[in-house]
């Protein structure tokens, strides 16, 4: 028996099938979850994928956060189940207050799609254990509301507790994917909750799991293998 990882579809979710593929490539079973069902189908972990749920019309993630499935996800996340929010999923997690902070419009005010360099800051989460601290990876980034914001106290707390999971890497030219693409505070690309089971990030690891496709790199696979290892060994 391998681990069962649920992937939620909200109306307007786009990367659900991609996330399912990433789960399968990592060797787990992908279980589709529907926003209207509270039933999590006994999955061991949940991915909230990217997209524009409800068109992102009010605020990214604001409407989905109130869906029935999220009631269960919030409850299980508090009980320790691994939950990964990618892009829109990250936005949903902040709207649901499972992760602190909020997302604002990119400073350039338009959609940004690029191959992004990230530094893995914390490997002490359910979704990053397979990386090495400080490791640089490259995964696609694509969003318009990706500017991570929180008040100074929250940011200091995140830093102090080692809860910044991913940072936009500096140290190279923009055309090679370096630099802060959206004005996120302290170059934050992804964070975790205190327990390390809930992780959210704006870039898209599920788009970097197969050679040839997308950027041709498989740097994103580590998130999925990390959680799989934890679940299988548990």
């Amino acid at each position: 028996m391998t681990a069962r990882i649920g992937v939620v579809t909200f109306p307007g979710t786009l990367d659900d099938r991609d996330s399912q593929r990433a789960v399968r490539v990592a060797g787990a079973e992908a279980v589709p979850l529907w926003h209207r069902d509270k039933d999590l189908k006994q999955v061991d972990a949940v991915v909230l994928p990217g997209g524009f749920s409800y068109g992102d019309y009010l605020r990214a993630g604001a409407i989905s956060r109130f869906s029935p499935v999220m009631e269960s996800v919030i409850e299980q996340a508090r009980a320790g189940m691994p939950v990964l929010g990618i892009c829109n999923g990250f936005q949903v997690l902040t709207e649901a207050h499972l992760l602190p902070g909020a997302m604002l419009r990119n400073t350039a005010l338009h959609f940004v799609c690029r191959d992004q360099r990230l530094r893995v800051e914390s490997t002490a989460t359910d979704w990053t254990a397979d990386f090495t601290p400080g490791q640089e990876i490259s995964v696609p980034l694509k969003n318009i509301d990706g500017r991570y914001t929180a008040d100074e106290r929250t940011l200091d707390e995140l830093e102090a507790e080692g809860r910044v999971a991913f940072r936009y890497a500096s140290g190279g030219p923009a055309r090679d994917g370096y630099g802060n693409p959206n004005g996120s505070q302290r170059d934050i690309a992804g964070i975790t909750n205190a327990a390390g089971n809930v992780v959210g990030l704006m870039p898209h690891p599920e788009h970097a799991v197969e050679p040839l496709i997308g950027t041709g790199r498989t740097d994103g696979l580590g998130l999925f293998t990390s959680v799989l290892k934890k679940l299988v060994s548990a």
């Binding site: 019309y57 009010l58 409407i63």
Partner: protein, 81 residues
């Protein structure tokens, strides 16, 4: 210094997907009795100097040519007290 507010709303005949999405969500969140929602933009402008008729006329022109897209939007200008 005074504050002038420019409200920009989609014209009534233009589809407002954002307002619709909000309206459709409300009953699910337990808020009934809202029969329509329209979502627009609000600009708060800090104006140097007096907000006299000339200044207001300029702001109205700014709203018309720049802040609002009058092909699809209406706007209103008011001085905040």
């Amino acid at each position: 210094m005074a504050r002038v507010v420019v409200d920009v709303m989609l014209k009534p005949e233009i589809l407002d997907p954002q307002g619709q999405a909000v309206q459709r969500a409300l009953p699910r969140l337990g808020f009934d009795g809202i029969s329509d929602v329209r979502q627009g933009k609000r600009f708060e402008l800090e104006v140097d100097g007096p907000v006299d008729d000339a200044a207001l006329a300029r702001i109205r022109q700014m709203a018309e040519t720049f802040l609002a897209n009058t092909v699809i939007e209406d706007f209103s200008v008011k001085v905040e007290s």
